[in-house]
């Protein structure tokens, strides 16, 4: 299992050809209190860089873009009733969706943890 990060502050955990996607702890800190998460329909085909989900804090709505292309096979229903889970466990229990990867080569563009931490520190 490998974990990757994007400049849009998402994390992607890979197990076989399934990518579990969420937003990073840094992202939830920046957003503040999360009050609503809109998740894609199961079966939806997402394209790298395209819309995948929406996360709303008290202040604003933010798009979550798909970090990889593929088909949504599962979404985290817990976030509908408890959006604040994103603030508590952004990089664990508050995963957003699982996507069946279309092209593993897309993972090559993503950052590892060390690179992501450096990216965040530089911002």
């Amino acid at each position: 299992m490998s974990k990757h990060y994007t400049k849009e502050h998402e994390w992607i955990s890979i197990a076989g050809d399934i990518a579990t996607i969420g937003i990073t702890n840094h992202a939830q800190e920046q957003l503040g209190d999360v009050v609503f998460v809109e998740l894609p329909a199961i079966g939806k085909a997402v394209t790298k860089g395209g819309d995948a989900a929406v996360v709303e804090s008290v202040k604003a709505a933010s798009e979550v873009y798909a970090p990889v292309s593929g088909e949504v096979v599962e979404v985290n229903k817990d976030l509908e009733g408890d959006p604040a889970l994103v603030n508590r466990e952004a990089e664990g229990a508050a995963w957003f969706m699982k996507v069946k990867l279309k092209d593993k080569a897309e993972l090559a563009d993503l950052m590892d943890k060390a690179a992501y931490d450096k990216f965040v520190a530089a911002q």
Partner: protein
């Protein structure tokens, strides 16, 4: 040609905000705290249940100075539809500065000082974002003998919430018995200040004007009380939205009239019939005939918030209005919004749809406020 970066101003409490761990954002030309480490939800709920302290020193404080109350009131009444002449000493009025087309240049509080020695003076507090526009407009339209005197050496803080009165009474005598929308000169631990029982949260509370070099000590004293926590602009916005209060530049602007904005309650009865203020033609006509559109409360049925500029459509899909403020109401525990709809759709209970991310989302027009006002009676 590149424009020079805007130089942001700081209030006298800036260093304290930073020390308290605030997240600072640019707002109306100032570097202001949007939230402290506990976050907007906690700050919002704290204000509704205890007492929240807000730095509102960015707002414009000024005096209108004339020879006597009748003269000063007559001068400002040409520029606002509120009843100022009838304001008793020590009372505050909410009104709007209107333009010739009946739109709103700004909304403001006007205070008639209680002290007989201040006869002829009126205190005003205007929005930070409109301060310069307001001052230029007022200076250009006041008659000879009545002058605008901006106050630049005073800070302004608001203490809001059900415990505000018991907290402030520890340091200021007299304040517990003050009526809502009244003002008094007081001393806070021996420091002269002007206290108004008013606010922008829907809760009981005060706004306290004090010398800029004395405000930090006052705020430190208040924050040492267990009932008081600092509150940023984020919660200020969610609190006022739930309270159904307008934010200038969003819910009201130079196009919207006080009638469309459902602020007719703030227009004096005599003034409605007599007119004599800028923009009276449109405003009195709209009072008589009804406005084309009206500001309403909007409650989305689902959990998704509808933000500013969300299009409102009717059940047939035709655009009938626009959301002007919208977000999540922590006390309501759900999304809340306000906006303008065609008058035919303005009755509470009317079913509407909000276009959120290209999808119609069912919602209902509701009466404002979303949370009952908790003002001192």
């Amino acid at each position: 040609m590149a424009t020079a970066p805007e130089t942001l101003l700081r209030t006298p409490l800036y260093d304290l905000h930073v020390k308290l761990g605030a997240r600072i954002v640019p707002f109306a030309g100032f570097e202001m705290p949007v939230q402290y480490p506990t976050g907007i939800l906690t700050e919002h709920n704290w204000t509704r249940s205890s007492a929240g302290l807000f730095d509102v020193s960015h707002m414009g404080q000024a005096l209108l100075v004339g020879p006597d109350h009748a003269t000063t009131a007559r001068a400002i009444e040409k520029l606002v539809p509120g009843d100022v002449a009838g304001l008793a000493p020590g009372r505050i009025r909410y009104t709007q500065i209107t333009n010739p087309e009946g739109g709103i240049i700004d909304d403001l509080m006007i205070t008639r000082p209680a002290a007989p020695g201040d006869d002829g003076k009126l205190g005003i507090v205007v929005n930070a974002s409109r301060k310069h526009v307001d001052y230029a407009w007022l200076s250009g339209h006041l008659p000879k003998g009545v002058t605008l005197e901006p106050i630049e050496d005073r800070a302004l803080v608001a203490l809001q919430g059900p415990k505000a009165a018991q907290v402030l009474a520890r340091y200021c005598t007299k304040v517990a018995d003050m009526a809502f929308m009244s003002a008094a000169q007081a001393e806070f631990d021996g420091v002269a200040c002007a206290v108004a029982r008013s606010g922008y949260t829907g809760e009981d509370g005060y706004e306290i004007s004090v010398a800029a070099d004395k405000v930090e000590a006052m705020v430190e004293t208040l924050l040492a009380d267990p009932e008081v926590k600092p509150i940023g602009l984020g919660a200020r916005d969610s609190l006022r939205l739930e309270a159904g209060l307008c934010l200038y530049g969003h819910d009201i602007d130079e196009e919207t009239s006080p009638v469309e904005a459902d602020l007719v309650w703030s227009i004096g009865k005599k003034r409605r019939s007599e007119g004599g203020f800028t923009g009276a033609e449109r405003i009195t006509r709209e009072i008589a005939e009804g406005p084309k559109r009206k500001r309403v409360g909007i409650r989305p049925e689902g959990r998704a918030p509808a933000r500013e500029n969300t299009v409102v459509i009717n059940e047939e899909g035709r655009a009938i209005g626009l959301v002007t403020s919208g977000g999540f109401g922590p006390t309501v525990n759900g999304p809340v919004a306000m906006g303008y709809v065609e008058t035919a759709y303005a009755a509470p209970g009317t079913k509407i749809n909000l276009v959120v991310r290209d999808k119609p989302m069912p919602a209902q027009v509701v009466a404002l406020p979303f949370t009952p006002h908790n003002y001192k009676r």
